[in-house]
């Protein structure tokens, strides 16, 4: 009797091994398509509508905790905060006046030199819905998506500097990859001397590193790295990181430079999304590359 009960299992559809093979192959196929071609983004955003209520619900305990904390803030702390913000505001106001004058001057100089004007950036504020629960990744989800015209590639920053970049847009959410994500690159310049380089995320910590810096390169502890803006993604002149450690070892061709991000990459709740970057002229086609090479060869 009981034996028939166990055998009933096999009467219900294909055996586990067949199902295993079927679904494993299906998964591998999806993996291949997603990793290689990224065809499945629309499916993903459709399914995200199913999952997002659970995700929003999961952020509730944190939000409630924060609201409770806000409620019980002492008056003294509020007064202190208010004072420090006032002071900050006064300091900033002076600089802002100077900035306006400088902007005006810059505009005139650029017209004088017939250089293209720097575009005005527009920002919209967004709130972090949650950070991704995956030890492999440094990504956050913010509460503005396709409904607020957020686009892939837009830059996310806080009041101090660059936080990351939008990498995926859902109907009501957008996913931003933090600059600390492994192998995430930001083209930067050393503010002190204009040295151009690229800063990479290190992945598992909140550090950044400069790769391929020659041992002899002019870089010092405490140097501020700002975006160079030559990639057409990041607007120029926004702080990214500060150099904290340089290891120059003659045995290696490159110096090991460790930096810390200026922005509170994993601290804040409110962020700014930058939009309205001026479009770069299209990259020249392959053809002009040939004469350049010839010239280089001639020089040699």
């Amino acid at each position: 009797m009981d034996n028939t009960q166990t055998f009933q299992f096999f009467n219900r559809g294909p055996s586990p091994a067949v199902r295993l093979v079927f679904f494993a192959v299906l998964s591998l196929l999806l993996l291949f398509i997603d990793a290689r071609y990224r065809y499945l983004e629309s499916t993903r955003s459709a399914l995200s509508v199913l999952v997002s209520p659970i995700q929003r619900l999961a952020t509730m305990p944190g939000v409630l905790w924060q609201q409770a904390g806000d409620f019980f803030t002492t008056q003294r702390r509020l007064v202190e905060d208010n004072q420090s913000l006032h002071q900050q505001h006064e300091r900033d106001a002076a600089q802002l006046l100077q900035l306006q004058a400088l902007q005006q001057e810059n505009r005139q100089l650029r017209t004088l030199l017939a250089l293209p004007q720097r575009g005005e950036l527009t920002t919209q504020s967004a709130e972090i819905v949650y950070a991704e629960r995956d030890v492999f990744k440094r990504k956050i989800l913010i509460n503005k998506g396709a409904n607020a015209n957020v686009l892939i590639g837009q830059v996310v920053m806080d009041d101090a500097g660059i936080v990351g970049q939008i990498t995926r847009v859902y109907p009501w959410l957008a996913e931003a990859t933090l600059i600390t994500e492994k192998d995430h690159a930001v083209p930067v310049q050393v503010l002190r001397n204009g040295l151009r380089t690229i800063v990479f995320g290190a992945g598992d910590t909140s550090q950044l590193s400069l790769r391929y810096m020659p041992v002899s390169s002019d870089i010092q502890n405490g140097d501020l790295l700002v975006t160079s803006g030559i990639d057409g993604i990041y607007p120029p002149g926004i702080p990214v990181a500060k150099v904290v450690k340089i290891e120059r070892d003659a045995a290696y061709p490159f110096a090991r430079v460790t930096c810390l991000p200026v922005a509170g990459v994993d601290r804040h709740r409110h962020l700014l999304i930058l939009s309205g970057l001026p479009k770069l002229p299209e990259q020249p086609a392959e053809e002009p590359a040939a004469p350049q090479n010839l010239k280089a060869k001639q020089k040699k």
Binding site: D2, P16, L26, L31, D34, R44, V135, E175
Partner: protein, 171 residues
């Protein structure tokens, strides 16, 4: 026949679909809580443990196909590659279905060692896919495998309790 005597001889009522669905939803919710830093590394994969529980206790209702579908949802929730969780959960379900007779004979402590094997395989597959695509592995990720295993016993007791409560209420 020894395998006919379950570790818990109490007759339990059939599991309602509501219990299965709500447990999976709650597991997805728990996975989505704001875990950070060390806690994120120690976070057990609630969804994996819940799916394994149902695959070993109700293999006729929760099996490989459903685990795969839940894996796809987990992929969307975690923004991992499509099929990464799905592949891992497919193997998890297969392991669960294969071992479900054996697990019933064991007490909770013995079950835990068996479950550890299946979960370790699941975690390894997930990490392997990540390694293949991105070229590196974060080793502390495997801490989650240990905490997930430790979750097995309390979860089993909880589900047993939930199913027993239903009997009491009906009498």
């Amino acid at each position: 026949m020894p395998y006919l005597a379950p570790a818990n001889p109490e007759i339990q009522r059939p599991v309602s679909t509501t219990l299965i669905v709500s447990s999976v939803l709650i597991a997805l919710f728990l996975n989505g809580l704001p875990w950070e830093g060390v806690w994120l590394m120690l976070r057990p994969d609630f969804v994996a443990v819940v799916m394994l529980y149902w695959c070993t206790h109700k293999p006729l209702r929760v099996s490989i196909g459903l685990s795969w579908a839940v894996g796809i949802l987990a992929d969307v929730a975690d923004a991992s590659l499509f099929g990464q969780h799905a592949l891992a959960y497919t193997l998890l379900a297969f392991g669960g279905v294969m071992l479900h007779h054996r697990l019933k004979m064991f007490d909770l402590r013995q079950q835990t060692t068996q479950v550890f094997g299946i979960l370790a395989l699941t975690y390894a597959v997930y990490a392997l896919v990540h390694w293949q695509v991105n070229g590196y592995v974060v080793w502390p990720y495997f801490l989650g495998c240990l905490t997930s295993t430790l979750l097995w016993a309390p979860l089993s007791i909880m589900f047993q309790g939930a199913r027993r409560m239903r009997v009491d209420r009906d009498h």
